[in-house]
């Protein structure tokens, strides 16, 4: 199995970021919860590799914490979305008829509206804790997975081995779970990768706008703090590192997603 360049680069970038998020604490000299009163608002140095903020917190340690939030939010949301989206896609594609129409109409409805607007309203009204953010993002993102899975199911359904299974007396559940699902699993994995990126992006947008969990550190919040002439002019270390971390994470996930998709298309 040869990895394409896209897949390889994506896996390396995301792998490095995940590794950093996991073991970073042990490698870094400073913890994000400890202030250094002797070095407030300091430029990068051998002591603080990416400088400190106004209160004396180490920027690299803050970015590490925020990265963890992003990865966790992305993974949890993606797991929920993939579960719901795949189930809905299988349901709509395999059962068809009225069920298909209803599921797809709801999906179209969600996709036709700027999701961020709804997310902002929902998070503000339900209260900005991370559980609500994840629920809202799940409701916004499942239609994309459902659509991809459905269109795949529609073609798999016509293959002869499905008829063969039915002729052998297999029930619908058995056919969907044992025969159809394995054929769409690759699509589900691809969708899950892209959903992770989308969820990380939405959470970053929400926290940038000040409507995410106030108790959790996040990359969006770090960037929101940089919206001043003074910081943009002279304190690059406060906003470039969280921004670059976010971009690398998203691009890495996109690369994996596209690499997986190319691979699937070649195989089909």
């Amino acid at each position: 199995m040869r990895l394409s360049r896209k897949l390889l680069v994506g896996l390396v970038v995301v792998g490095l970021l995940v590794a950093f998020a996991t073991v970073g604490d042990a490698l870094l000299p400073w913890d994000a919860s400890v202030r250094n009163p002797a070095a407030r608002d300091a430029a990068p140095s051998t002591e603080h590799w990416l400088g400190t903020d106004r209160l004396g917190f180490d920027v690299l340690a803050l970015v590490l914490r925020a990265l963890r939030t992003s990865i966790a939010v992305g993974l949890v949301t993606s797991a929920l979305v993939t579960l719901i989206g795949t189930a809905m896609g299988l349901l709509a594609g395999y059962v068809g008829g009225g069920v298909d129409t209803v599921v797809m109409r709801i999906a179209d409805l969600v996709l036709a509206f700027p999701g961020l607007v709804l997310a902002l309203a929902a998070v503000a009204l339900l209260g900005p804790d991370m559980r609500n953010v994840v629920i809202v993002m799940t409701l916004l993102l499942w239609p994309m997975t459902a659509r991809l899975i459905r269109s795949r199911v529609l073609s798999v359904r016509t293959w002869p081995f499905i008829d063969a299974a039915r002729a052998l007396g297999a029930g619908s559940w058995r056919i969907v779970l044992r025969h159809v699902f394995p054929q769409v699993a690759g699509t589900a994995v691809t969708a899950a990768t892209l959903t992770t990126a989308a969820a990380i992006l939405i959470e970053a947008n929400l926290s940038f706008l000040g409507l995410s969990d106030p108790t959790l550190p996040s990359l969006g919040k770090l960037l929101a703090g940089a919206q001043s002439q003074r910081i943009l002019a002279t304190r690059w270390w406060l906003w470039i590192p969280p921004g670059v971390t976010l971009v690398s994470l998203i691009l890495g996930l996109y690369l994996i997603g596209e690499g997986l998709r190319d691979r699937l298309q070649r195989r089909l």
């Binding site: 036709a112 961020l116 902002l120 503000a124 009204l125 947008n205 000040g210 409507l211 002439q229 996109y254």
Partner: protein, 322 residues
């Protein structure tokens, strides 16, 4: 054409209803009492608060409240902002215009940029320009709008001082009509670039791939056999046939552009409905929040309609049904 209009209108209705219904439901289950939040603490006794609640119908079941709200909306009454005490209609009518103008300009810009870059890449397939455009567009798609905005402001406004950092016009008017127009254009450059970048990039990628695909079709080979040059084959034969799916993609970008306007208006401090949705969400100004989500649903509807009409206009099969 009329059929397209009517069908779209019927499809758009459930979107607007669904979105406002959902927002209303969320507002209803939202923790906290909207009256308490905005009444002066010592000014009202419990009895007075209870009377105010029943006067405003806040004790009714939420479906009743939703029906009442809808009836009022149909007569043009969107209520009063809890924060500014001004009628919501006055708050959002100007804001809607700002957002429509910004989004339309961004869509036009991203179409020009996207198709231009996509064709440039397709015509130079597998050469360095193609690879450069591929890397640039891929990177752009991965850069969140707010980070791109900060990068551009940092370079062009703060470091170089060429462009203003925010706002729609300068505080001190300096001259006549031309000066004002130029001033507004200068203020619009960065917001437009940020808002258009994402869609321009995905459109460029799509255009490139699709034109490359169409170039392999039999009729393009025929054109080549007739002795037509490469440029004629690409622009006259491949491009028009790639245009339909491109317009479809453009239509699918509309919700993204509108979501982008939320970020862009917040960063650049533009008084549109994008910024209003953020401020009303933070303030829990429910009448404004409801009106703004409705406004977004309507703007999305109009934009989809325009896409459909464009589609109908360039597709001969819709223009001249057999």
């Amino acid at each position: 054409m009329l059929y397209v209009l009517i069908r779209r209108g019927l499809q758009a209705l459930p979107v607007a209803l669904g979105i406002t219904f959902l927002t209303f439901l969320l507002a209803y289950v939202s923790p906290g009492d909207p009256l308490l939040a905005y009444a002066p603490i010592d000014a009202r006794s419990d009895a007075e608060l209870a009377r105010a609640r029943s006067e405003r119908g806040l004790d009714d079941p939420w479906l009743t409240q939703y029906a009442r709200w809808l009836r009022r909306v149909l007569t043009g009454d969107l209520g009063v902002s809890l924060v500014t005490q001004r009628p919501v209609v006055a708050e959002i009518s100007g804001a809607i215009r700002v957002t429509i103008g910004l989004s339309l300009a961004a869509l036009v810009l991203s179409t020009l940029l996207g198709i231009g870059l996509g064709m440039a890449a397709a015509l130079n397939r597998d050469r360095w320009l193609d690879h450069t455009i591929a890397v640039a567009t891929f990177t752009t798609i991965g850069v969140p709008g707010f980070f791109l905005a900060l990068l551009l402001v940092s370079v062009f406004s703060v470091q170089l001082g060429w462009l203003p950092t925010s706002g729609t016009r300068s505080a001190v008017p300096g001259g006549g009509g031309l000066w004002l127009a130029l001033d507004q254009a200068r203020h619009a450059i960065l917001p437009l670039l940020v808002l258009a970048s994402d869609s321009a990039a995905s459109l460029a990628r799509y255009t490139r791939d699709h034109v490359v695909e169409v170039m392999e079709e039999a009729y393009v080979r025929t054109a080549s056999a007739k002795g037509l040059g490469f440029a004629a084959r690409s622009w006259r034969h491949a491009f028009p046939n790639a245009l339909l799916p491109i317009v479809t993609v453009l239509g699918l970008r509309v919700p993204n552009v509108l979501a982008g306007s939320v970020i862009v208006e917040s960063v650049f401090n533009w008084p549109g409905i994008g910024r209003l949705v953020v401020s009303s969400a933070i303030d829990k100004d429910i009448p404004v929040l409801l009106a703004v989500t409705l406004a977004f649903a309507i703007v999305t509807m109009i934009a989809n309609l325009i896409t459909d009409l464009t589609y109908a206009a360039i597709d001969p099969r819709i223009k001249h049904p057999s």
